[in-house]
Symmetry: C2
Subunit: 284 residues, 2 copies
């Protein structure tokens, strides 16, 4: 596997693949990789001739009060996982390689969409995500890019950015990967104490309960959200940021659950903010 630390190395390698007529898939990550990321690499491996993963903790999507410094990193472990899953190149740039001093060019959706759900507590988050993903797209120029459904709002934001900025890139959404007890895989799970790790199961329990209600024919969004909220509220270590049912494309709240409705939550377990969700009728 090629380890590229500079934009130039990535461009030159991808150009060579292009000259050979090979298709390229991109898996953008912030590192500290787990089986969720591995599933994205597997999917890219199956759909593209060459697979590039990026491993970059992007500062512009963290607010000053967030966990940029604490965010877990283990590049050696990441390389092993990526190589095992057949990744051809990992792009592992420094912050200086990605951002010139005083950089202020942003890609931003300037309406209500990025202010919903996670955007309420993280107002600059999706501006940072759109900007860095746009840069990665411009550096790698992939045919396809792979994102997990766990970050469902991010997936919807990226799909919209690609459409509205006319990127010729197919965005492939991949299902949530869970621990055997149900907890959605996340690099941030490493923050949890053993007690918190147990308490964190309320997220997936609420997701499964919501899916069960919708599967049994309940379409009243308030009823589903209320029941999920009650389940989470019963856990003393949990503090709810939001539990919401929204349109899967616009992220606007809905009253009636239909195919494509996103039912999403963010919950603090102690100081750790975790997210989970399901999409009625499954991910399209």
């Amino acid at each position: 596997m090629i380890i590229a630390k500079t934009v130039r190395e990535v461009r030159e390698q991808v150009a060579e693949w292009r000259r050979e007529g090979l298709s390229v898939g991109l898996v953008p990550t912030m590192g500290y990789l787990h089986e969720g990321h591995a599933s994205l690499v597997d999917r890219a491996r199956a759909m593209c001739d060459r697979v590039v993963a990026s491993d970059f903790v992007n500062p512009t999507q963290f607010a000053p009060n967030e966990d940029l410094e604490a965010y877990p990193r283990d590049f050696e472990h990441d390389c092993n996982l990526l190589e095992e899953h057949g990744c051809d190149m990992v792009f592992y740039p420094s912050v200086e390689e990605m951002y010139v001093p005083n950089a202020a060019t942003y890609v931003e959706i300037q309406d209500e969409m990025p202010k919903q759900l996670c955007g309420k507590t993280r107002p600059i988050h999706f501006r940072g995500v759109c900007t860095v993903v746009s840069k990665l797209f411009n550096i790698v120029q992939p045919d396809r890019a792979f994102f997990g459904q766990k970050d469902a709002q991010q997936l919807a934001v990226i799909r919209r950015m690609v459409r509205e900025l006319s990127y010729g890139i197919e965005i492939v959404g991949c299902p949530i990967v869970r621990e055997s007890d149900g907890l959605a895989k996340s690099s941030r799970n490493t923050y949890l104490s053993p007690e918190e790790r147990t308490a964190a199961l309320v997220l997936s329990k609420a997701v499964f309960r919501g899916e069960e209600l919708v599967g049994s024919g309940v379409v009243d969004a308030k009823r589903v959200v209320d029941e999920m909220t009650a389940l989470i509220s019963a856990e003393p270590l949990a503090r709810i940021d939001y539990v919401s049912a929204v349109d899967g494309v616009t992220m606007q709240p809905v009253e009636v659950i239909t195919d494509g409705t996103l039912v999403a939550m963010a919950v603090y377990i102690g100081k750790t903010r975790l997210i989970d969700n399901f999409i009625a009728g499954g991910l399209k």
Copy 2:
């Protein structure tokens, strides 16, 4: 010359050229082409295997009070000029082809730079320019793109956007092309009455006077700007928007003129807003 009205046609044609190993140059225009645009096509022709021009009056760079509706259009004339200069493909999309309903994804430099000079009276202008140029870059994926020095702030903004969004595209700036009496070529010159056309010469006269002063060793920006301002103010049909000496990269005002300093102006002649400029030491 190929006339492409859809994004798909452009992508397919460029992909074919890419497979043949050919380089591609892009000349973004708003149509109503003149010798200034022709010089960009000539330069692209000399530097690239294939030349694509876009011909699109971009609504997102006009404010509601500006001249979007009145902006002159003549596609047949544009095609003749482009063909004469060896352009291989013109991209001539509808507004609907370029913007989906409720599009709100923008590329924007979010600091003081786009608020200087033309940005003072045109606060959303450079957001629209960056967004549409970014879309054109994503559609055509050119090796080089060609912009005129007449729109000097635009050229600086695009150079910065390309650097900060990691586009692998070389931006080539091309000198101002003038009428024989000095007036900078502009599609908006067509708005001028015969009387205004004569009055409009104060812009180029002021530019030439400024260049002369700087050439003779005057480095005091205030003195150069004041003398240019006095020259323009003597014309009854002229109303100055700005005359400024700024750093050619950051667009911040300077007190001392050095190589690379941009001395730029916007002047209303009747209702028509015209721009002109010179760069101390010439365009780099």
